[in-house]
Symmetry: C2
Subunit: 243 residues, 2 copies
């Protein structure tokens, strides 16, 4: 499994992903699931991947190869005129990759599926955030649904739903995501540290912040231990039940 | 889907279940998923069911029919000498029912699976709590794993893990379960009110409390609206992130 969250705020986009991959509980590894393509001053595109590792790596590599010499290798996400066209291109790549493995490859126990979160901004238009399905189609974040989760989404969802606010600061958004990740990590062995964090500020056309949060990160550990206590206090603050 | 929780406390057992069943989003109904068999002063057995409704109803009806005239219709859960034997008997019934439908019945789109939580006490031994799998085998709650969830378990799990305490009062346990149910209901349309609640006090050999919590229950609504605020306060109380 995997856990990734992409958040759309009024001031920009925030991305967080875990790095654990597993093929059974005795075969776990660390792989980066967050990838960016930047032309400073012109565009920033960030993707996070969940699903079959071979599929997601192939998707990222295909997109990346084409971006190395965009003039020769089309279609490149570095030449796409809008984030919508980027999402379309990624969706097509996802569809092709899954199709190749599923219908022309060997039989496999696990499915070849992949789901992606793609966000960023291209000069001349607003920042946008998409979730791309294994079928290659996609949906866009909106005021009503301002964030996307992929992978093991359920444990960490209630806190996002309750605390998210479009006006929140980047710092609060990171704190919120860390609580959501901590709830997930505590419940599901297939999601694990280190975490990758990236912040994009509207109209900056560069990555504002990029950080890896390691197992021994003191702030993460403060959140992880503090949240249990904070929840207990919150619970106590509610009116008591009487029969 | 369904959501049921069975909690083992030092002072007794607490059960809560939702009542929503669905076969598609346009076919939802209310069915009781909590069933009890009581011989006052001698035994209390409570079950909660998740899974295919036809299967779970057949399981409950089979067990119930046998209990009506236990002398004639064996094996009856009212004659089983221990909670372990009750769990075994329920497990066998689950296995038989699923087997009948799966192998001798028609093909169906959905699976015939069912999962149960079974708890109670029989005079002469301690109260016990079991989770019974569709395969008919089962596990028992212990000090390390003092509660079981069935159905849509993930959204409501983090709060149970963080706040549960074996010494807590029945009132606090109900409050905790309501928060867990509220998080689930807010996230998953297939879990819905009314909720059924039952409390069993150790060595009482009768149901201490039984209650249905309806959609307009003022306490539930207090918890449901208050929890959002309480979570935000808890969130604020954590140290802030800085880049």
């Amino acid at each position: 499994m995997t856990y990734c969250v992409g958040l759309r705020l009024n001031r920009g986009l925030v991305f967080m992903s875990d790095t654990r991959t597993n093929a059974g509980v005795d075969n776990i590894s660390v792989f980066k699931k967050m990838h960016s393509w930047v032309i400073p001053g012109e565009r920033v595109i960030t993707m996070m991947t969940a699903g079959n590792l071979a599929t997601t790596q192939a998707i990222i590599s295909t997109l990346d190869e084409r971006s190395k010499a965009p003039a020769d290798r089309k279609p490149s996400i570095l030449e796409a005129p809008s984030m919508f066209q980027v999402a379309r291109l990624v969706g097509e790549t996802v569809r092709e990759e899954i199709h190749t493995n599923s219908f022309e490859g060997q039989e496999a126990d696990s499915s070849f599926n992949a789901t992606l979160i793609v966000g960023g901004q291209i000069k001349g238009s607003d920042p946008r955030l998409f979730m791309i399905y294994p079928e290659g189609n996609f949906i866009e974040a909106s005021a009503e649904t301002p964030f996307f989760q992929i992978g093991e989404t359920k444990y960490g969802r209630p806190i996002l739903v309750r605390v998210y606010d479009p006006d929140m600061s980047f710092e609060d958004a990171v704190k919120l995501m860390l609580v959501s990740f901590d709830s997930t990590i505590k419940a599901n062995l297939s999601v694990g540290l280190p975490l990758d964090l990236q912040v994009y500020e509207n109209d900056s056309f560069q990555v504002a912040r990029e950080q890896r949060i390691a197992l021994d990160d003191p702030y993460y550990n403060q959140i992880s231990t503090g949240w249990g206590e904070a929840l207990k206090e919150a619970f106590k603050s509610l009116p008591d039940f009487t029969f």
